[in-house]
Amino acid sequence: MRAVCWNGKTDMRVETVPDPEILNPRDAIVKITSTAICGSDLHLYDGYVPTMKKGDILGHEFMGEVVELGREVKNLKIGDRVVVPFTISCGSCFFCKKELYSLCDNSNPNSWIAEKIMGHSPCGIYGYSHMTGGYAGGQAEYARVPFADVGPLKVPDGLEDEKVLFLSDIFPTGYMAAENCQIQPGDTVAIWGCGPVGQFAIQSAWMLGAQRVIAIDRFPERLLLAQTWGRAETIDYEQVDSVLDVLNDMTGGFGPDSCLDAVGMEAHGTTIDAKIDKTKQNLKLTFDRAHVLREAIMACRKGGTVSLAGVYGGFVDKVPMGAAMNKGLTFKMGQTHMQKYMRPLLERVEKGEIDLSRVITHRLSLEDAPGAYRTFRDKQDECIKVVMKPDGHFHAHGHSHGNGNGNGWEH
């Protein structure tokens, strides 16, 4: 089969590799019909995530059709159409039973690596380095899905792929991050990052009862989507002297009640701390750039909540813990506990409460992946979200494959 393989920093290649096989009794094999590139994939692309090996297959946002089942999977049938969560969870350990699915004890065969860096290991994740298990990912034609009786969500035929694909990661991620804001009536939520996760966080903040949503970014098309689709007030941080001052003004001196970081470890900023971060990262003195984290802590009102959706991998410098402690902030964070959110959020989609496809700007072929990574990372061509289909899927429907300019296929 064809698959997107990591070959080093900024070197993604589509290679022909063997098809996956059932390895454990609770596995399934899914034939992939749609897959996407995630913002966190860009950390792999830029070489910031350790324990990658040349040849690793990437991708953790995928859906498709069940084509093979391990002998212990009783709840799925061949032919079922499923969205697969990006996290792998066993369903039976202490954490899964508490609905803390992204903390599963039993799904990461390389837990010892994560333990060295983190103390204890989170769950296994598709296509996201050997620290999370080294699982082959879903930017491919087929994927092996472990614990298939716990993860995959059956989706109705009436909803086309792009209406449900983002149940695999970014919608539940934005939603959980908004839930982590602990929103009360009357609250103002500030959201850093208007990428796809930020957009879904904006949508979710309204669903969860926020009174105001303020979104922060610098790319015009992303700010525009936050305004038009997201109904958010926006701040272009490159046009203002101080985001903190603006937020204080907008909230009558309080600061936002909750601050949501939907940016993570590759934060870009114009202030001196951001410049120092980038330098240190280039010199390999630090993994993560914490500019947004710092700003969120400083901006948040006293006694408020900081919610982290953006991925951090290692260590951050110069985080104002003094401010956080003395202002009595609450931090809530984590990789998404997918199985807790997928079904309720599918219901919202089925009821028409939200159209997940609004974030898609580029529809390409899997073969276009190498260029698509660059386009997505550099926000070229007003790129917000890239969705890819394996070429075989095109030919089955008789359309030509993508040309890298967006809207590579139609229905």
Partner: protein, 260 residues
Amino acid sequence: MRDAVASSSFQQGTGSLPNNTAGFDAEREDTGMMYRVGQAAMVLSGAALVALAARQGRWKTIGAAALAGAPLVYRGATGHWPVPQSVAQKASDAMTSPPIEAAITIDKPAAELYAFWRRLENLPRIMKNVEQVVDLGDGRSHWTGKSALGFKAEWDAEIVDEQEGRRLSWRSLPGSQVYNAGTVWFDEAPNGRGVVVRVSMELAGGLGHLAGKTFHGTTLQQVKEDLKRFKALMETGEIATTDGQPHGNRSLLGHIHNPI
């Protein structure tokens, strides 16, 4: 003296080897191949020191080398250092490594966990360095193991003590190629989260220990991994793996399983 019934050093805070097991006693009849290799190495290195010094031709150098090399040669030839036995014993104890201990909580009844472990043929499923265990009956078993470096070893072991559903103690028989002894406990977790499975294992001290690590493959990390596999197997019915899944072209180094 600490016999196999005594509690682990988790509870006692001690880590010494029991006196009635092999320890680092190079004067036993059947010392095993590893010790012989070790002794030969000492004789050779002692001799080599003097030989290398002799090539330089200066008496001071040769003298110094002889001073350094002689004890090695003596040790290799006789089996103990040219020092009083009490001093040697203290040094040996110091070189003896503390027991390897690890624990994990598994959400299954103690009886079920004990039954799996007691059926010794099951152990290769969770112990990466054990290829096969044959239960010979009467508490005795025959083990075939391999280390990461590919060295194979076989040894016989006996169950020293067992209390069904609670505790199991074993040790390799005297004269075995590989020395180890251990105990596994199954205790109810106080907070209702399952059963705490604790393992305490001992390897021979000194060179034997080093040999144990290198050739037997048993280290703290290995024991922790074995316990994790046990937990996964008991709680989910399988052990998570990525062995055998597809990937693109690997680099030369990438073919090694360990990714770090």
